[in-house]
């Protein structure tokens, strides 16, 4: 079990990856505001946001300074939550794309979704390591709850998709 929960990178990489992501974020925002050429070049904007995601992914793939069985279990539990959160947020974004000021689903929307989830993931890891919330270590609750959550989510999405398809036929006629 431990073999599968081991992180990819050394603990020193974590700080460096977070710092690089912050630098990329600041540079991207400053350049986007101040530079017309950059603002018009969509691929540059996507590339910088891809680098931010890469930095955050590297940070979550890094070990803790003392990487023991508790920190591995925390890492696994938080990863499970983050994947579920990503599926839900991405599903909602896909559903409401083009409405409520959300741009239609594009590469940049996906990157923004990923960045949000990864930032929440890193903060959750930090807080869980510091405060040891008991629910993270409970083994009995999670599998059933997650199964129900995911099945409920997919059925909800199927139902909404079926409704939208039916509506499109109705509107055409």
């Amino acid at each position: 079990m431990e073999k599968y929960l081991t992180a990819m990178f050394d603990y020193r990489v974590k700080k460096q990856a977070i710092i690089l992501s912050i630098i990329f974020f600041i540079v991207d925002k400053l350049t986007y505001i101040n530079n017309d050429w950059y603002a018009n070049s969509y691929s540059n904007h996507i590339f910088f946001n891809y680098l931010i995601v890469l930095g955050l992914l590297t940070a979550i793939g890094s070990k803790d300074k003392i990487d023991d069985e508790r920190s591995r279990l925390i890492r696994y539990s938080i990863l499970k939550n983050s994947i579920a959160l990503f599926v839900v947020i991405f599903g909602i974004t896909a559903l409401f794309s083009g409405q409520f000021g959300i741009k239609s689903l594009s590469m940049i929307t996906i990157l923004y979704c990923l960045q949000g989830i990864l930032v929440i993931h890193i903060l959750s890891l930090f807080l869980a390591n510091k405060y040891n919330p008991a629910w993270l270590f409970k083994e009995t609750t999670s599998p059933k709850d997650y199964n129900n959550l995911m099945i409920g989510f997919f059925y909800g999405m199927y139902a909404i998709s079926a409704f939208l398809i039916a509506m499109s036929f109705f509107i055409k006629k």
């Binding site: 023991d68 069985e69 508790r70 510091k130 270590f137």
Partner: protein, 66 residues
């Protein structure tokens, strides 16, 4: 699961940090085990028992709900 790590630690007059260093885990891990939030692996339980010079079942005790 109940445990007597705090008692054994007091008997040996060592801190959570000392025990963590000896077992090569973090201080937060010892704290989580002492407060019965986290159940350690078999390997870590045996390491603890060996460190305190007792048996594993003298250090940990099953409760009715376990």
């Amino acid at each position: 699961m109940k445990n007597l790590i705090k008692v054994e630690r007091a008997r040996k007059n060592i801190t959570q940090g000392d025990l963590a260093d000896a077992l090569q885990v973090s201080r937060q891990t010892i704290n989580a085990i002492e407060n019965a939030k986290f159940v350690p692996s078999t390997v870590l339980s045996f390491k603890m028992a060996r460190y305190f010079g007792c048996k594993v079942d003298e250090l940990f005790e099953l409760e009715e709900e376990d």
